[in-house]
Symmetry: C2
Subunit: 449 residues, 2 copies
Amino acid sequence: MARVVIVGGGFGGLAAARALKYAKVDLTLVDRANYHLFQPLLYQVATSGLSTTEVATPIRGILGKQTNATVLLDEVWDFDLDNHRVILRDERPLEYDYLVVAAGARTNYFGHLEWSRFAHGLKDLDDAIEIRRRVLLAYEAAERESDPEVRRKFLSFVVIGGGPTGVEMAGALAELSRFSLSRDFRNAKLEEASVTLVEAQARILSAFDEKLSAVARKHLEDLGVRVMTGEMVRSIDEAGVHLDGHMIQAGAVVWAAGVEPRPLTSQLGAELDRAKRVIVEKDCSVPGHPEVFVIGDMACFHGQDGKPLPGLAPVAMQQGRSVARNIRRSLAGLPRRPFEYADKGILATIGRSRAVAERGKVKLDGRAAWLLWVFVHIYYLIGFRNRVAVLTDWAIAYVTYQRGARLITGRRLQPGAPDRGRVVEPSEIEIAAGGQGGYPEEGHPPTHH
Amino acid sequence: MARVVIVGGGFGGLAAARALKYAKVDLTLVDRANYHLFQPLLYQVATSGLSTTEVATPIRGILGKQTNATVLLDEVWDFDLDNHRVILRDERPLEYDYLVVAAGARTNYFGHLEWSRFAHGLKDLDDAIEIRRRVLLAYEAAERESDPEVRRKFLSFVVIGGGPTGVEMAGALAELSRFSLSRDFRNAKLEEASVTLVEAQARILSAFDEKLSAVARKHLEDLGVRVMTGEMVRSIDEAGVHLDGHMIQAGAVVWAAGVEPRPLTSQLGAELDRAKRVIVEKDCSVPGHPEVFVIGDMACFHGQDGKPLPGLAPVAMQQGRSVARNIRRSLAGLPRRPFEYADKGILATIGRSRAVAERGKVKLDGRAAWLLWVFVHIYYLIGFRNRVAVLTDWAIAYVTYQRGARLITGRRLQPGAPDRGRVVEPSEIEIAAGGQGGYPEEGHPPTHH
C-alpha cells in the first residue's frame, strides 16, 4: 500500500488527509500540536470572546474514524528526498511514497526577534492565551493605579499591522475595553483606554478594494480605534512602540504585521521566492520531485493571473484536496490535473456587527458583510460540537455583551515555593513570557464535595 | 460607610459579597486569580471533559453589577488586626471595618513537597491544564512507542487519595482511556492502559456510609480501575509510586490525597486546630476580634454534633451568607446570630452514569444518584452562560462520547529560538512543569483571511 506522509494538521494538511479517506493508502499525519486550529477566529480567544476549545479541535478526533490514517504528535527536523524519508526530531525516519508538506507559517518580526518580548504574535493557542493574559493584566494594573497618567499607559493597546488579523484584533480590543471598563472596573475608566492600529502602508486592508479599506477604517474609528497608516515601526521596548519621530506608550502590544513560512521550506532543496516560499509546479509538486507536494502558506503558486496566491485558508484547503486527487490519480496510473484556485473572496470583520467582504466585483460592507462573515466562519468551523458551542457563545455574547473567557491563567510552578507567586505588573509581563517570571493563579477558597 | 474587605473569591467569599449586595457598605474583594472556580468540576477539565471557561467565571463578571463592590486582583501578605488593616504584597495597606478571610486551601503533600514534581495536585485551572497535558502526552508517547512494556508504563495512571476528587479523577481517567484508546489511537491499546486508585485508609470515600463506599468501589472496578486501599505512599519519583514493598509504574500521577489551609491562617494570631485551621467562634469570628471572620476551608467550626464541619462548598457558602447577615446586623445595632449548618449531604460521581449520594439517613447510588449529581452541579454553577454551555457539552459528550477539550497547550517561549521547541517525553514532563522544559504547540498551517 502506498505510504502518504502529511506534515501539518492545518487547513491544507487536514483537507488532504480527509480527501484521501477512501484511497488505498497508508496515511500518516505529523503535527507538533495535537489540535487543528481554526486560525481565523484565534483573535477571539485573545480578546476573551471565545474559549480555546471552541477554536481548536484535537486532530485525532477529526481523523479518529478514518481507518487509513495515523496521527503522530511529533516534529519534523529534515527531509531526505533522495531516500523518500522524513526525519523526525529524534532522528527516527518516516518513509513515504508521497509527501505533502503543509507546515504553515510563523510570526515574522523581520529580523527583530527582540521585539517579540514586547509585541506578542498571534499564531497558536498559547499566543492567544498570552495576549489575553497581557491585556487583562493591563486592566488589572490600571485598576490598582491611582495616577491617571499611568492608567492611560496601562490601558493603551497597540496593534501593529493593518491586515485582517490586525484589524480584527483592534476592533475586538476596542469592544473589550468598552464592555469591561464601563461595567466591571471602578477605578480604570473607559476614557483612559485607547487602541491604536499602526500600518506601514498607506492604507489598512491593502488586499481589499480602496473603497472597502476606507469603510473599514471608518468602522474602526467609530469604535474608537486610532488608525495610523504610513507609519514604520522603528523599535519596540518596555515603554512602547517607537515610530519615526514619536512614540506610543503601550500597556500591551500585539504584533500582526507579518508571517513567514516555517524554516522547513529551506530544507527541501527547492527554489524559494522572496517570501521564502517554495515555488511549486502546476500540481503543487516540488520541481524534480513529483512525489513531494508543498501547499498552503509554504507554497508559492502562481495563479491564473500570474500572481502568487495569497495565504488564505481556502487556498490551502483547495490545494490539499487537489493534491489528494492527484495522488489518487497517480496511483490509478492517470495523468495529474493542474491545481486551479476557485477564488472565494476575502473577508474581515470589525467588531460585533460590521465587516467588509470582496469577491471579484462584488463588494459588501456593514451588517450584510458581517452576517456573511458569521455564516462563512461557522460553516467552515470543523466539528459539529464547535459549531454549536460557538453559535451559543456568540448568541449569548451578542445579547448580553458578556465575555466569559476573560480568564488570566498561566502560572508556573516554582519548585520549593509552589504557593508564593507574585503578581506580575504589565511592565514585567514581557519578561514572564520570556520564561522567567511567574504568575499566581490561586487564592480562591476551594471545596471538596 | 463601613468598609468590608473579603479575602478570596471562592464559594465562601463570593457568597458573602453577594449577600452584602444591598448593604450600605464599601466592599472590596481581593483575590490572586481573576476568576471564581467551580472546583467540584475541575477534574473534568483535567480529563478533557470540559473547557476551562466552563468551570471558571471572571469574578468581575459576577460582581460587575454590584455597585458597592470593588474587585482587586492582588495578593494578601499579612494582617494588621490591631490597626484593622490587610497588607497587600507590595506592602500597600487596605483598611477595613469588617474583614472576611476566605482564602481556602491548597494541595497538601504532608511534608513531601518534592513529590509535587511527579504527582500533580488539582486545585486551580493551571493544575487541571497541567494534568490534562500530562495525561494526553502520555497517550502520545505510547502511540510513538514500539515496545508494549514501555507503552504499559506510559499508559499507567495513578491517582493518590480516595476522597471524592480522587474517585472522580480515577473514574474519568478510566473513561477517557476507554474512549481515546479505542477510537483515536492506532498503536497504543486499551488493554495496555490502567488506572490505579491508592488510598491509605481501609476504604475509599471514608466520609460516606460503608455500604456506599463499597458500591463506589464496585462502580470503579466495573470501569476497570484498580482500587488499592490500606496502602501508604512511601515515595514518588520518575519511575512511579512506591508503596510498602512494591512499586506502581506510572505515566502520570495525580495527587488528590489532601489539602491544607493557605498559610494565611497562621498570620491571624488565633489558635489553630491540628489541620492548621483557625478555630472560630459561633458567629465565625476570630476570638477577640468580632470584626474579623474566617470561613470555609480555613475555618474550624464545631457543628451541632461537636465535630468540625468538613471542607465542602455548601459549608463555605452558608458561612459566607451568615457572616454577611451578621455584618448587616452589627451595622444595624442588632445582636449577632450563631451560624448553623444546614447539611446538604455529600455526593461523588464515578464515571458518566454512576454516583453515590448521602444525606442523613438517605443513601442513593447508581443512576439516580448520578442524576442528582448532575442536577446539583448545574444548579450551583454560577452564571447563566456556564450553565448552558456545560449542559450542551455534557449532552453532546453523553451522546457522542466526544471529548472536545483534549488540547495539549502550554509551550514556553524560548528567547532566540521561538520556533524550535522540543516534544517532551512523559519522563520529562515533570521537569517541564518545574519551569525548565518547553513544549511546542505550533506546526499547523495558519491562514490569513
